[in-house]
């Protein structure tokens, strides 16, 4: 196993915990995701933060699956080092998840004895096994289900109140509410005998949201002004589209399901050419197909946003699991010199801000922008402090009709100091032009002249290089001469490792890059002032982020690469250990 054995750190936890993690596993039909969602809702009602991620087998129906929850007194987007509780409605193939659900001697295994004993793989961690007759208990409630029994038990062993459980069941269940309540109550009543964990009291209440990274990205896009979306279904980006489809209808926009990703990106480009801010969402295989047309967006200067919810690659890879392996293609995949924008959200909530920012950058610079989210953020549902998004005021620079007869012909690609030229929108008379992927002159007419090519290359590069991202380019936290350098979903465990180090009196800095292209070498230089050692953290096999940093940035002499491919997320403890290494 890659990660630190959980038993070594489990003992660090105090009797009242700041965070409790539970996994609920079972085969298709067991309803583990439904129960998990209700449990997360109960934690939210009780006033806690938390998040739920999921893992599943390859089957469409009937496969094994696990809902993985973490409930905490502090905002978190990351998983803990291990799980306090593994509950299983049955044990069919659950061992496949063993690496994703680390247990230790202080962990608790809950299972229905009627489904057999827990697999040895779990028992040998030293975790305590407490049998709970889920099926038999469910049979005592008319219409009762074992997953609702498990829900009650888990709420009990985590130390959530019966009131919050009750309210969550009422809020979440669409049907059979009484049966659900009865079963959940019965399960809850079993917890005292089993014994469990005590969460610290919840923090003071503020307005909170329950949102997935995919939903947050979708909402951020709409806040940014996106009103046209074309996309082709792909795991794990589909939920983003399923969020956007009805949402767009409510606000006067449109979503089109395209025949493939080649069509999606070109539909988005066509709509954007028509003046409507446009977006598509996909994952690695789809991004690969879109690359040629992203180059068209660069050359013809048509804004468009692509959200890439990364999954493991290459090829089909592991479609349901997370990896940060698309960094190379997002940064360098386009043929020719094609300056564009790449941003990466570094929390579930930041999926909103980063995507909204990407729309603003794309629109204001008339360029494609790629948002590198991933399956971990995309499909995680998190309880977060309310995200106070404002509607973007950034607008595309539009051309207006020339005044008077004999005005000079409109130059769509006029050379300007900023590199951005006023864009004519179809419908406006007197400034018609052809948007072209062929190299062109200022008027947009095809040109094979070296001077035109150079002038347009300079212009397109200039508008990107002159971008001033302000403080948004990175999240910088902490002090010290050791720095964690990362992006995207690796930021969550990095933040927790940082907090752990600070609690131990160790100073450490975190720089999580949100703007990956264009590179910001001067800013990083300032952010790393005084740093002697950097730990570059990323979830891919070859160290794509490190290679990018090495090519674009000056790094301190001592560089440690902490990387592995998906799908196992980094655990805070393994990062912490790297920090405190002499």
């Amino acid at each position: 196993m890659f990660c630190t054995p959980f038993q070594q750190i489990a003992s660090m936890h105090q009797p009242a915990l700041r965070s409790v993690s539970v996994a609920l596993a079972g085969s298709g039909g067991a309803g583990v995701m439904t129960a998990g969602n209700v449990l997360l809702e109960a934690a939210a009602i009780a006033g806690y933060y938390g998040l739920m991620t999921r893992t599943s087998g390859p089957q469409i129906r009937g496969g094994e699956a696990a809902a993985m929850l973490r409930v905490a007194t502090f905002p978190t987007d990351g998983q803990d080092d291990g799980f306090q509780v593994l509950a299983a409605i049955d044990w069919q193939n659950v061992t496949r998840f063993a690496a994703e659900i680390p247990l230790g001697p202080s962990s608790l295994i809950l299972g229905d004895p009627a489904a057999g004993a827990p697999p040895e793989l779990f028992l040998k961690t030293g975790a305590r096994y407490a049998p709970v007759p889920l099926k038999a208990l469910a049979a005592q409630v008319a219409g009762g289900w074992p997953n609702m029994i498990a829900l009650g038990v888990l709420a009990g062993v985590m130390g959530l109140s019966i009131e919050s459980l009750d309210a969550a069941v009422r809020k979440s269940l669409k049907k059979n509410v009484d049966a659900g309540l009865g079963a959940a109550h019965l399960g809850f009543s079993q917890a005292a005998a089993i014994g469990g964990f005590q969460l610290e009291p919840p923090p003071p209440r503020g307005e909170r949201w329950l949102v997935s990274g995919n939903e947050a990205a979708g909402y951020g896009a709409l806040r940014g002004g996106v009103r046209f979306v074309a996309a082709y279904p792909i795991t794990p980006a589909t939920e983003l589209l399923e969020y956007l489809s009805p949402a767009l209808t409510k606000i006067g926009g449109t979503l089109v399901q395209a025949e493939d990703e080649l069509a999606s990106i070109n539909m988005a480009l066509g709509a954007s050419y028509g003046g409507v801010p446009s977006l598509t969402a996909t994952s690695g295989p789809g991004l690969s197909l879109m690359i040629e047309s992203l180059g068209l967006g660069v050359a013809a200067e048509v804004p468009v946003v692509v959200v890439d919810v990364m999954r493991t690659g290459p090829s089909t890879g592991i479609a349901t699991k997370s990896e940060q392996g698309d960094l190379n293609i997002a940064l360098y995949g386009l043929h020719g010199d094609a300056p564009h924008i790449v941003v990466a959200p570094n929390s579930v909530g930041d999926c909103l801000s980063a995507t909204q920012w990407a729309v603003e950058l794309a629109e204001s610079l008339q360029v494609p922008a790629i948002v590198l989210s991933d399956q971990y953020f995309g499909q995680a549902r998190a309880i977060v402090d309310a995200l106070h998004a404002e509607t973007s005021t950034v607008e595309r620079l539009r051309a207006s009709a020339p005044e008077g007869d004999g005005a000079a012909p409109y130059k769509r690609y006029a050379i300007t100091p900023s590199g951005v030229s006023p864009m004519a929108i179809p419908g406006r008379p007197g400034i018609t032009y052809t948007a072209d992927g062929l190299e062109h002159n200022e008027r947009g007419l095809p040109s094979s002249q070296a001077a035109d090519h150079l002038a347009q290359m300079d212009k397109r590069a200039r508008k990107i290089s002159q971008l001033d991202p302000g403080d948004a380019w990175a999240s910088i936290e902490g002090q010290g001469d050791v720095a964690l350098l990362t992006f995207g979903s690796c930021t969550a465990p990095a933040r927790e490792a940082l907090a752990r180090a600070h609690a131990e009196g160790v100073d450490v800095r975190l720089v999580s890059l949100r703007l990956l292209a264009p590179a910001q070498p001067e800013r990083l230089k300032r952010a790393l002032e005084g740093v002697k050692r950097v730990i570059v953290l990323e979830q891919n096999h070859s160290g794509q982020f490190l290679r990018h940093l090495r090519s674009e940035y000056d790094l301190p002499r001592e560089v440690k690469s902490l990387r592995r491919p998906g799908p196992l997320p980094f655990r805070p403890e393994e990062i912490y250990k790297e920090i405190i290494q002499p």
Partner: protein, 278 residues
Amino acid sequence: MNASTAAAPLQAKDFKSDYKPVWCPGCGDYSVLVAITKAFAALSLKPENVAVVSGIGCSSRIPAYTNCYGFHGVHGRSLPAATGLKIARPELTVIVASGDGDGYSIGGNHFLHACRRNVDLTYIVMDNHVYGMTKGQPSPTTEPDWTSKLAPAGTGVREFHPLVIALASGANFIARAFSGDPNGCAHTIAEAVRHPGFSFVEILSPCVTFRPDQRGWKDVVHPAPVPETDDPGRAARRLMTDDGFNIGILYRGARPPYHPKGQAEQRHVAELEAEFRL
């Protein structure tokens, strides 16, 4: 300029740009360009309300030769770009220009789905049975025994039948025209633009450089011997027995054009926060 001349209807030449075509002298596409501009004039359109969208190839050079808004995109993807534009800006007249390589080969999948989707577009394919811009390779409509450097013994592969495919996929208007008759082309294009939904106009447009034999097309094209039909069954029979040189409107369907599903509301985007709030 006085009021009366300002209001004068636009003529075909008012839809032409001052940018000169690179097509070989003698090319059928010159005629198609004239036909398109004549159709625009006959439809009393204004250049700013028309968008001409294309992919890559000789025929796809057309947008910049018009005075309308143009979009010259990547190879094979003109239909998706046009679809996005028309759905986002339904008030525009959107014309798509393509060729047999761009439209039937690399863009073949989009052709099927554009027919099926039935967005109100006019799709003009200039078919010369050859790739011109890459120097004369066989295209999907090339005869199996036509020899070239890339296929010295011919492809041995039967031709694609775009009109049959269009009908089977749901196109709402299917016509064939011949570039040797620019006015006939203009008439057909105008009818295609007028007809709601996805209108497909295949224009036989000889390539004088790589297919000089196509100069003979003027002697073999002939008006379709039967009038147009709105019955897909009859149209299917007719198209399956088509000799490839029937000219005219062959099918005019009555399928309602694509309209995004769902009642478009105009609520403020901030209202969407409600569903996330705990």
